[in-house]
Homo-oligomer: 178 residues x 2
Amino acid sequence: MSPAAYVVLGMLRKGARSGYDIKQAVEISTRFFWTISPAQIYPALRQLESDGLVRGAEAPHGRRQRRVYELTRAGEAALADWVADTGDASLELRDLGLLKLFFADVAPEHAADLVTAMRRRSEETLGRMREEILPAADAFATDHGDPHPLAVLRIGIAVHQAVVDATAALEDELRPTR
Amino acid sequence: MSPAAYVVLGMLRKGARSGYDIKQAVEISTRFFWTISPAQIYPALRQLESDGLVRGAEAPHGRRQRRVYELTRAGEAALADWVADTGDASLELRDLGLLKLFFADVAPEHAADLVTAMRRRSEETLGRMREEILPAADAFATDHGDPHPLAVLRIGIAVHQAVVDATAALEDELRPTR
DNA sequence: TAGGACATGTAATGCGTTACATGATTAT
DNA sequence: ATAATCATGTAACGCATTACATGTCCTA
């Protein structure tokens, strides 16, 4: 079972009901360290249902179709087992900015611009995390007694802050302030 | 043209000659923020050759086959153009540890172990970067007058250091020292 | 009444990894 | 001898994105 399937299980457990809900939830939370698309969600829901890990039911709004799901006990157990496997927790970074900077000797006049672009990119992410997501995560922690999403966000903020700091320092080296 | 092709171009420019060389170079450098596999490298080299961006020649060692490549002027220009496009510099993070921690409410007794695993993982990466890669990057910077790989490494170190710091702080919260 | 959000889904395509296959050379 | 390293390559598979298609409901 792929990580995407566990994201689906996890979001259902956090209160999402439909595939659409799951997508919305991902967009304001896990997308910063794990993205999934609708083309993964809907097939995954069907598969999980036939595996007995979720239970689905039609729940149309008027004439608009809608299918809602909930975790079964087996589904919750599967999610818990996956979380408990602490050996499988790889981190993978794909950063085109760093990659280009690595080869920047071929066009050194653009190196500083590259670093600036990287800094701005992380500053934007940081801004959205602090202004939009942090309040929601904070509310979720107190309302549901679940501190983990907030803890994850704090780590995410720390990482992007480190990128901002490191790139800002590098900018000063590359473009010495007169 | 995919980023993998530019990695191939870039590594040739940095002195790699064969597909095998490129793979070795990636393993001690870009792999921390961009990985490519042999199954990408060899087809890419053929494609780049037919596009006129690299020039290939047979260069066997005794009876052992070997094909070496070098950048053409067009290839160097293509690499420079790609580096100069500072608008295309996305950062993507895929972290199974953070993902599991996000859903850790389903098995809160494992949350602290998860965070410890994440910290150790980044400590290991940090160790390898500082002990193996930093000296090589430093030598490269002075020998070739190219400071960019070293700068990239510094940013990588800062990021992993931030992960270590943030996870260590979180461990203290989750497992209060009595 | 038009635009945006809600809601579900598929087909095509591309990207990338895994696993395998082959064989030579060098070091132990 | 044999293990490790050098060296190149492919086939199969799975994963994921993009783009598209369809239609409803709500709000300004």
